[in-house]
Each structure stands twice: as structure tokens, then as C-alpha cells.
Amino acid sequence: MNAVWICVIVVGMATMLVKAGGPVLAAGRELPQGAGRVVDLLAPALLAALVATQAFASDEAIVLDERAAGVLAGAAAILLRAPLLVVVLVAAATAAGLRVIS
């Protein structure tokens, strides 16, 4: 078997197990009280980390480019309470527009 198929099978199985681990093993159990307060904060912590890395990270470098400007424009739309569709379109259009200019 070649390297490509080894990667496809191993990564596929590993990802399926990682995703299923919690839901299968913790089936029918309530998380303890303190854990709930920590788990509640997983969403803001992870979302902020995803925003930061996807807006500013390029491999292992921090870059401020058209993509970051697009996200910034999206942030402005969020502050103006724009609906989700508008936020996403503003971000994409800003990044695309700046790339045309530059």
C-alpha cells in the first residue's frame, strides 16, 4: 500500500475515533459540576483561537494581509449587528477587493 492510502486510512480512522471518543465513552453520564463551568468556556476559548489562527497565522508565521483586513471588516459588521450572511460576505468581499487593488 502506498503512502497516500496509508494517510487516508490512518487519518480517517484517527479522526473518527477522536470525534466519537467523548460521545461514546461518556454516554448517559452527566459531567460533574465543576467540569460544566470549564466546558462552558471551551466554546469561547476555541472559537477565539480559531479566529486568531485563521485570520493571522500562515504556517508558523503571523501575517497581516488582505485576509486579516477582511476579518476586521467582518468584525465591524458584527458590531453593527449585521446578520451572519452579511458578516461573511463583507469579510470575503473586503479581502477579495483588496487583493484586486494590490
Partner: protein, 234 residues
């Protein structure tokens, strides 16, 4: 007839479908360019269903890296799904096999959408994850068939669409939840950016989960449903 809440999950994800299909297509194109055959690319999108890890495998193999290096990078990138799936574990129903299969529809977007003040709405998650799954795999198929005749998604600014989406999903958590979510978000972003230059991709986001330990400080907060969960239920 589909339950209304599955449809709600799909509806909220609709604005993102062009971006999802385009990124699926770019995975297909890059996979072919890196010498990965079409069937392998399609199987990978159907089984792994996680963009960043799939791109990592393509870029490592395309650059002449070993299978072990590609697998290592992909597993690191997907390790974040362990805490995310654990947090959402209460939402899943039925026996182990059904839980295993349904949990495959958990991706960043469906997870964030279905989060309602620490609890997770299974139907929103499955509806959103299901339509994302269709879009991702359809996109991959388009990509492997069309090859390099497609436009780079960056030209359309689609690379800015995803962080903007996550920011939009983050905003209501920060707005309504008091001090701790703000602290968790700021620390999460700070940890991720600080580690970006010095650790392999994937590590910064996993390490950022440590920020949720601020939940052990101070009084408990009231659970409040996120803006998008409200949008979905309206």
C-alpha cells in the same frame, strides 16, 4: 418529513455553502496536484471530513514528506475535536454505533452553532453538520474533476469568510456571558497567537483550550443561548 430543528441547522449554514464547496474543491485540486489519486481524495473527504487536517496531509505529501509526518500533522490538527466532542457528548443519543456515526458530523461550524450556553442541541448539530458534509464532499468531487481550471478561493476572499464566521459565533458568547467568557476568549486567542511561531500547526488551538480553566475562578454564570441558536429557533 424532516424535523424543523434539523432544517434550522441547515438553514443557518446555507450562507456558508459557497465557501464550503469552494474549499472542498480546492482540496480536490490540490490533492490531484500533489499526486494523490481522485479516489483517495474522495475517500479522505468522506471519512476525515476536516478541512485543515486534509490540507495538511496534501501539503506534507506534496512537499515530499513521509506518511508519518503527514499523519502526525493531521492528527495534531484534529486533536481539538476530542475536547469539543466531549463537551457535546450529552447531546448524542442511542447506542455506541449510532453515537460514533452521528459524532462524525461534528466539525468546528456545527459544534459552534449547536452550542447553547454549555449545552448542545443534537438536531441543530446534525442538520448543520449534514449539509456541511454534503457541501464538502460535493466540492471535493468538483475539484478532482475540474482540476486546476478552478479559481483559487483566496481570490474570492473565501479564506476570510471562515474566521469571520467564527467571530460571529463568538460574539454572542462574549456579549451575554459576563466576565469569564471574555477572559476565556482573550486568553484563548492570546495563547494561540503566542504559540503560532514556535509550535507546529494544530498545537496553538489545542493549547488554547487551557483558557477555559478560568471557569474555575469566580461565581458560576447563568447559561444563555447564543445568538445563532436564537436565530435558528426563530
Amino acid at each position: 418529513m424532516t424535523d424543523a430543528r434539523y432544517r434550522d441547522g441547515m438553514r443557518v449554514m446555507l450562507p456558508l455553502m459557497p465557501a464550503i464547496v469552494a474549499f472542498g474543491a480546492s482540496f480536490g485540486v490540490l490533492a490531484r496536484a500533489a499526486g494523490i489519486d481522485s479516489l483517495a481524495a474522495l475517500v479522505m473527504s468522506a471519512t476525515t471530513f476536516a478541512g485543515s487536517a486534509q490540507f495538511a496531509v496534501v501539503s506534507v505529501l506534496g512537499a515530499g514528506g513521509t506518511a508519518a509526518a503527514a499523519i502526525g500533522a493531521a492528527v495534531l490538527l484534529n486533536a481539538r475535536y476530542a475536547p469539543m466532542a466531549l463537551a457535546a457528548s450529552g447531546a448524542f443519543r442511542g447506542g455506541p454505533l449510532r453515537r460514533l456515526l452521528e459524532a462524525q458530523l461534528l466539525v468546528d461550524e456545527s459544534w459552534a452553532l449547536s452550542s447553547r450556553g454549555g449545552r448542545f442541541d443534537r438536531k441543530l448539530l446534525l442538520g448543520a453538520g449534514g449539509i456541511l458534509y454534503v457541501g464538502w464532499n460535493a466540492g471535493t468531487a468538483i475539484g478532482v474533476l475540474a482540476g486546476d481550471r478552478l479559481t483559487d478561493p483566496a481570490t474570492l476572499g473565501l479564506d476570510a469568510a471562515f474566521p469571520a464566521l467564527f467571530l460571529a459565533l463568538l460574539a454572542p458568547l462574549v456579549r451575554s456571558g459576563g466576565r469569564n467568557p471574555v477572559a476565556a476568549a482573550v486568553m484563548g486567542a492570546g495563547i494561540a497567537l503566542a504559540l503560532t511561531p514556535i509550535t507546529p500547526a494544530g498545537v496553538p488551538v489545542i493549547a488554547a483550550t487551557a483558557a477555559c480553566l478560568v471557569g474555575l475562578i469566580g461565581p458560576p454564570r447563568d447559561a444563555a443561548p447564543g445568538r445563532l441558536a436564537q436565530e435558528a429557533s426563530s
